[in-house]
Amino acid sequence: MRTPKKSKFVKSRPIRDQFDAIKPRFLAFMIDWMLWGYVAYAVMYFLQRYWWRYIDFYNPLKLPPWGWPLAIIGTLEMAFLTHAFTQSPGMAASHLSLVDDEFKSPSFGQRLLRFAKMNITLVAQPAVFLLRHRKPERLLHDSPATGIMIPTAILKDVVPVSKPCPLYKTYRGWFLFGILIMTFWLGVHIARIDLSKLISGWDYMAKIFRELFDIRLNYLITDVNTGGNLFSILYFMAETVFMALFSTVMGVLVAFPLSFLAARNIMGHSPLGWAIYSFMRFVFNAVRSIESLLFAIVFAIWVGFGNPFAGSLALFIHTIAALGKLFSEQVEAVDPGPLEAITASGARRWQVVIYGVIPQVLPSYLAFSLYRWDINIRMATVIALVGGGGIGTLISFWKGEVGRVPDAWGQVGGVILVIAAVIWLMDYVSGRVRERIG
């Protein structure tokens, strides 16, 4: 790339430049601070676990009111320290390096002064940020006496590239390794990982397993009275399959047009387009992050507990969001060449979509739709557990009969067997179809 020539048409934009220059440094500091905050949280947790519970079991260890500012300042100082004296994880993540005015690593004294000045900067920088004219990338604590933080990429242009230091020889490597070990340790305690429970619960489990595998299929076609409703396993299975079918087909039909509204290369040409694009993106991401089980809870209240319509709606909503996101990513990944060619011939934008985009995305749309159909069938089998209807109704019914009906677990086993058989069959069919398309 040749060096850009300055031109009278390049707008000057001091505030934005300043913001752009400060952004990586802000992010770097926030990462470091948050890492130390995480360490502080772990310290509190382990203190409680290994020390305080033996002193006062009933009152868990809590920070006193004055402890909060102390924790905040303590983590801040640790972040300052690591920022001034090392190449910290945050700096590495933001590609920043600390150098002196000769682009060498600053001395111990310079770093110490830097550490001290950072405390003043924390308070004073916001005040002088807009008042004082400085180079935007320079904060108050940047000076020849304390070293200056610059993007590593710039440093590489100035000094010869040195051999990269292996991670295990750096502070950063050890710190991150420590964090990893700490996370594992915390996880064992917080998620209450206890392998001995697997052994102590085994006898009861073995009994249930024996009953579960004593599979009963006497209600395969014969109706069973599930709290006033008379349905068989196959009836519920059909209900489940059609729930998945309805939600997938309708979901695809709705997601198809919406996906183009959420694609940057289609919408990003005007401010209104950007607004629609951002809005659709937000909606897709928000809806997608909520499991369909949670939607089912809402719809079960709305249209009736145990009504398959509730489950269908829940799956439908989730399908729109999930497919809309996947589809729009496909649209964004199309080859722009044909779109350019069709645009150049004087076609309208929607004609470009019909003739340029749709032929390119159709195969992957089909593959994703079939994949979604697989997921929906699987979800439809369990969505009854929160009142969404479908074959899960039978599982919760028979599980409720345990103790009252002698072969209740065997009936559950029968339902699970049918579910497994149908899912396997659907998997096989959609896999074959997807092979054909691909």
Binding site: M1, V10, P338, T343
Partner: protein, 256 residues
């Protein structure tokens, strides 16, 4: 001769990286001429071509096409202007999964009835014209094949047929033969020459090879770092001019 395009103080700066791709270019294209743009990669040839039909928005300057200001055209007027300027591309830019015929017909979208085109319906005349154009570029038997089943040379012919569908006044070609072998390159260039001489279409094409430019070009415009460094007939390019365009270390390569 009358001017088809007048370019006045055209500048293009890419916002990201602030690269100055076209630096204050003023020139014109005469009606019916065969103009060749020469220059190294990154000299601004593609950007210049794409500014003419506004696939790329110019930063400053004006482009007049047959008396109308392209740079100020609003959407409808711009589409009507684009209909008169066809374009073919280095990578052919066909929709690979569509049939050849659909690809050719997509060049007619600017003229087609909007509602009918939404359901892939074209008039009898348009389909006849498409077949006639495929016949003209010598591949009528490929009409119902998928575009990606064709060889590179055949794909570029589809690109030419698509351009012919517009019945254009101007044909712009962005490195039309760079992805092709020398023999195929000549056959493609001959179609451009034929369009230029028989249909009177003004041709503006960017080329890498000076030998192709010498063989086909009526006039040559050489760009370097976004500026015009040479303007004249192919015969006027001597060794010194060549080095000025391509740099000191360049050697002239023949394409036969």
């Amino acid at each position: 001769m009358e001017d088809l395009i007048q370019i006045d103080q055209l500048t293009k700066i890419y916002e990201r990286g602030e690269v100055l791709a076209i630096d204050d270019i003023s020139t014109n294209v005469r009606k019916g001429e065969f103009l060749v743009l020469l220059g190294l990669s990154g000299s601004g040839k593609s950007t210049l071509l794409r500014c003419i039909n506004r696939l790329i928005e110019p930063t400053a300057g004006t482009i007049m096409f047959d008396g109308q200001d392209v740079t100020k055209a609003r959407s409808r007027q711009l589409r009507h202007l684009r209909r008169r300027m066809a374009m073919i591309f280095q990578q052919f830019n066909l929709v690979r999964r569509s049939t050849v015929l659909t690809n050719v017909l997509s060049g007619r979208l600017g003229y087609a009835k909007a509602a009918a085109s939404a359901v892939h319906k074209f008039s009898k005349e348009d389909i006849d014209l498409a077949m006639a154009n495929l016949e003209r570029v010598g591949i009528p038997e490929q009409a119902y094949k998928r575009a990606d089943e064709l060889s590179g040379g055949q794909q570029q012919r589809v690109g030419i047929a698509r351009a012919l569908m517009q019945q254009p006044d101007l044909l712009m070609a962005d490195e039309p033969v760079s992805a092709l072998d020398p023999a195929t390159a000549h056959s493609i260039m001959q179609y451009l020459e034929q369009m230029n001489q028989e249909d009177g279409v003004t041709v503006v094409t960017s080329l890498h090879f000076l030998s192709l430019a010498r063989r086909y070009g009526g006039r040559i415009l050489a760009l370097k770092d976004g500026q015009i460094v040479f303007e004249g007939t192919p015969a006027e390019i001597d060794k010194d001019k060549f080095k000025e365009i391509y740099g000191e270390d360049a050697e002239e390569v023949e394409v036969r």
